[in-house]
């Protein structure tokens, strides 16, 4: 197992854990946390490929990861703001109870 493969496996595992949490936890904030984990796993993937890629001096992977971090932060801010607003409206953050769009 090459180092790259190891890193990739770790990233995959982290991604799956994050996904599992996002899919199973009731609290909306924990779903967002799960999504942050998934994003982090993707960042790890990017950096790993940058390190063990053909042209690390091009900084492509690093740049990508930095921008990803920035976007993730922005998205977390907005998402948590939405969750707070929903909580104000529905008095709860339980996703199982939020099925107004049920068709």
């Amino acid at each position: 197992m090459t180092p790259l493969a190891a890193y990739l496996l770790v990233a995959a595992l982290l991604f799956a854990i994050g996904l599992a949490g996002a899919l199973t936890r009731r609290n909306a904030i924990l779903v967002l946390i799960g999504i942050e984990l998934m994003l982090n796993a993707a960042n790890l993937n990017l950096i790993a490929f940058w390190r063990y890629g053909p042209h690390p001096e091009a900084l492509t992977g690093m740049m990508f990861a930095i921008f990803s971090i920035a976007v993730a932060a922005a998205e977390a801010a907005v998402g948590l703001g939405l969750v707070i607003q929903i909580h104000r409206h529905a008095k709860t953050t339980d996703l199982d109870q939020m099925n107004r769009m049920k068709g």
């Binding site: 996904l19 996002a22 899919l23 199973t24 779903v31 996703l95 199982d96 939020m98 099925n99 107004r100 769009m101 049920k102 068709g103």
Partner: protein
């Protein structure tokens, strides 16, 4: 028989001829305006009518003066104004009017007598609530009659003819709430209609043969030699030429309108109308229209006659006229209604006019028409005055002794009665009737009409004496006392009485002005007129006959009058004959049994056909449609709707099933997303491996 005179054609019509159309137009406009008036505007309506009639009279007098002026200069005036009404390719339909001696005298007579009767009506109808409507109809009638008189086209004449018939219907049935009046109006209209059908056939045939319906059209008219020659060469059925056949058809129309023998049944019933109507329409003018028509188409009737001979058409006219004269006079003897006696007398006198036309020519018949108009109108108006004075009583057995109570009416009525009987020398009726008798005496075909007409004169004197004796002599047999009529009624009586005497002067053998005027010849006073062979003998004969009739009547009825319940003197003598005469010789019953019964049967058959056969067919079709509609509805509800509904339900259910995917929960959607990514990745990897 007169020779046919040719009138020099006029190149341009005089001013009066140009505006001749105003004479009928003004009363018609007055009628139109009066139709819009409210019932309360009585004075306006009467003023309109009398005013328009006065205008027509003045214009007629101007026209008459113009014609006389022309006659005095030795020029026979016949001015026509023609115009094209319908243009249909090669054949045109022209209308127009004519001003010649015949139309001029008729214009003056109609408008003058009409005006007098209008004035009379203001008094007679004063208590009637439909006063306004009455004068509207009277004006309309006057306009239509004047249109008949001036028309130069057989079509325009026919249009006026029909309008006259319509107004006659409206006026006979004026008191339409009375069932007898409504029935009488209907009878009049239908009976004249029978004649009119033949008339129309004659018109169409004439148009087809000659291509024109104008009488005089500068040589191209239907009464002018060119067209007549063409008609004479055309053979028709039964040995007649086209001229003869058309003449007979036109006479059929005239017979209907003028109450000749088979079609006379409507005239006595027409007495249901108000007395001014009887005076104007059924004595002086409308019934004279038939005679006038024959006079107008006389060249056609006379076409093909040899000098001194007669044609088939004229022979038929004579026989019908003579028969009518005697027939009606017989019935008049046994009538008890004052107006009915006068009605049958009118029928009888119309027969005289027709006979005069047939045997003696236009002047003979027209002279009697003019004099008859005046004295018959006088008699009717006098009868109206009597009825008015006796509080609407019309049965002569319930009158009597009115000589003292209504002196003016008595005087004028006697003058009229003597004129009708033909009292010698002083009264116009004598001269006009003698003209006819003289023509009958010299008729080449047969002698019988002469004897019939003499017998008719005897009967006329007899029944008129009977009537006058019952009404004016003896003692009053009514309930309430009688009174004289107002001036509005008696003044016209006086004027007419004057003319009843004076008109005789224009037709004596001494000065045969009327005949000469109509022929366009000059004439002067000629004592040798009396020297014609047989003339003095004839005058003597008729005088004897008149006195015989008067005497016989006075003998039977001049004595003490019977009480109303007692039967008549003659009735006691010959009850059977009296019964026949009183029942009008059963003509109405005959018609009822034959024509009307057939009509009723035919109507019933048609009704049955209509209801069962055609109606059944329609109902059958409707039923089939109903069935079809039911079937459609079934299909629509069950098949179409049902199918559609089922489809929609399935769709709905399917949609419901599909909608279960939308749980509304975010995590469900995320899961689906993840599954999709897995599947996609698997596919990608598998395909890249391969």
């Amino acid at each position: 028989m007169q020779e046919s005179i040719s009138f020099t054609p006029q190149l341009a019509a005089s001013p009066i001829a140009e505006i001749l159309w105003l004479i009928p137009a003004v009363p018609m406009v007055a009628a139109g305006v009066a139709a819009l008036l409210k019932q309360a505007m009585r004075k306006t309506s009467a003023t309109l009518a009398i005013g328009s009639m006065t205008v027509s009279l003045l214009l007629s007098l101007v026209a008459f003066a113009h014609v006389i002026a022309g006659w005095a200069h030795g020029q026979a005036v016949r001015e026509t104004v023609n115009f094209t009404w319908i243009q249909a390719g090669a054949a045109n339909v022209d209308l127009g009017w004519v001003l010649d001696p015949l139309s001029a005298v008729m214009l003056v007579m109609v408008s003058f007598v009409g005006l007098l009767i209008f004035i009379y009506s203001t008094g007679y109808m004063a208590h009637d609530e439909n006063y306004t409507r009455f004068f509207c109809f009277l004006s309309l009638f006057a306009g239509a009659m004047l249109a008949v008189v001036i028309s130069n086209s057989l079509l325009l004449l026919f249009m006026g003819w029909e309008l006259v018939g319509l107004t006659s219907y409206l006026l006979i049935g004026f008191w339409y709430q009375k069932p007898s009046a409504a029935a009488a109006a209907k009878k009049a209209f239908l009976t004249t209609r029978v004649g009119d059908v033949f008339f129309l056939l004659g018109i169409v045939w004439l148009f087809a043969q000659t291509g024109t319906l104008l009488f005089y059209d500068h040589g191209a008219g239907s009464m002018e030699p060119g067209a007549l020659a063409a008609l004479l060469t055309q053979p028709a059925a039964l040995g007649l030429t086209a001229a003869g056949a058309i003449g007979l058809l036109i006479f059929a129309g005239a017979a209907g309108k003028s109450g000749q023998l088979p079609l006379h049944v409507w005239l006595p019933d027409a007495m249901e109308g108000p007395t001014p109507v009887s005076a104007l329409i059924h004595a002086a003018t409308m019934v004279a229209a038939g005679v006038y028509l024959i006079a107008r188409v006389y060249p056609l009737m006379q076409a093909g006659a040899l000098t001194g001979g007669s044609t088939t058409a004229l022979t038929v006219v004579t026989w019908v006229g003579a028969s009518t004269a005697v027939f009606a006079a017989l019935i008049a003897v046994a009538q008890n209604d004052i107006k009915r006696i006068l009605a049958y007398s009118t029928v009888s006198q119309l027969g005289y006019m027709m006979a005069g036309l047939g045997m003696g020519g236009v002047a003979v018949g027209m002279f009697h028409l003019i004099t008859h108009a005046f004295f018959k109108a006088l008699l009717f108006m006098g009868a109206g005055s009597v009825i008015h004075g006796c509080h609407e009583e019309q049965d002569i057995r319930k009158m009597g002794g009115l000589k003292a109570d209504m002196p003016l009416t008595f005087l004028t009525y006697t003058i009229g009665m003597l004129a009708l009987c033909g009292f010698p020398l002083l009264f116009s009726g004598f001269w006009s009737k003698d003209g006819i008798l003289e023509a009958a005496q010299h008729w080449s075909v047969a002698r019988a009409p002469f004897y019939m007409l003499v017998f008719g004169a005897l009967l006329t004197a007899f029944y008129m004496t009977r009537q006058v004796a019952y009404v004016f002599f003896g003692y009053w047999r009514g309930k309430k006392p009688a009174h004289e009529s107002p001036a509005a009624m008696t003044v016209p009586l006086a004027i007419l009485a004057f003319f009843a005497m004076a008109l005789g002067l224009i037709g004596t053998p001494l000065w045969p002005w009327f005949r000469a005027f109509l022929d366009g010849r000059a004439t002067g006073f000629d004592v040798h007129g009396f020297a014609e062979p047989g003339l003095l003998a004839l005058m003597g004969t008729s005088t004897v006959v008149v006195f015989l009739g008067l005497g016989l009547g006075w003998r039977l009825y001049g004595g003490p009058a019977p009480r109303p319940e007692e039967p008549d003197v003659l009735e006691k003598a010959v009850p059977l004959v009296w019964g026949w005469l009183q029942r009008k010789l059963y003509v109405d019953e005959l018609y009822g049994a034959t024509v009307i019964a057939f009509y009723g049967w035919w109507a019933r058959v048609s009704d049955w056909l209509d209801r069962r056969v055609w109606g059944g067919a329609v109902a059958g079709v409707a039923w089939a449609f109903g069935l079809w509609a039911q079937l459609n509805r079934f299909l629509d509800t069950n098949v179409v709707d049902g199918g559609f509904d089922k489809g929609c339900e399935e769709l709905s259910t399917g949609g419901g099933l599909l909608a279960q995917v939308q749980t509304g929960r975010v995590q469900t959607y995320l899961r689906i997303l993840a599954v999709a990514v897995v599947v996609l990745a698997a596919i990608l990897i598998w395909s890249s491996r391969a």
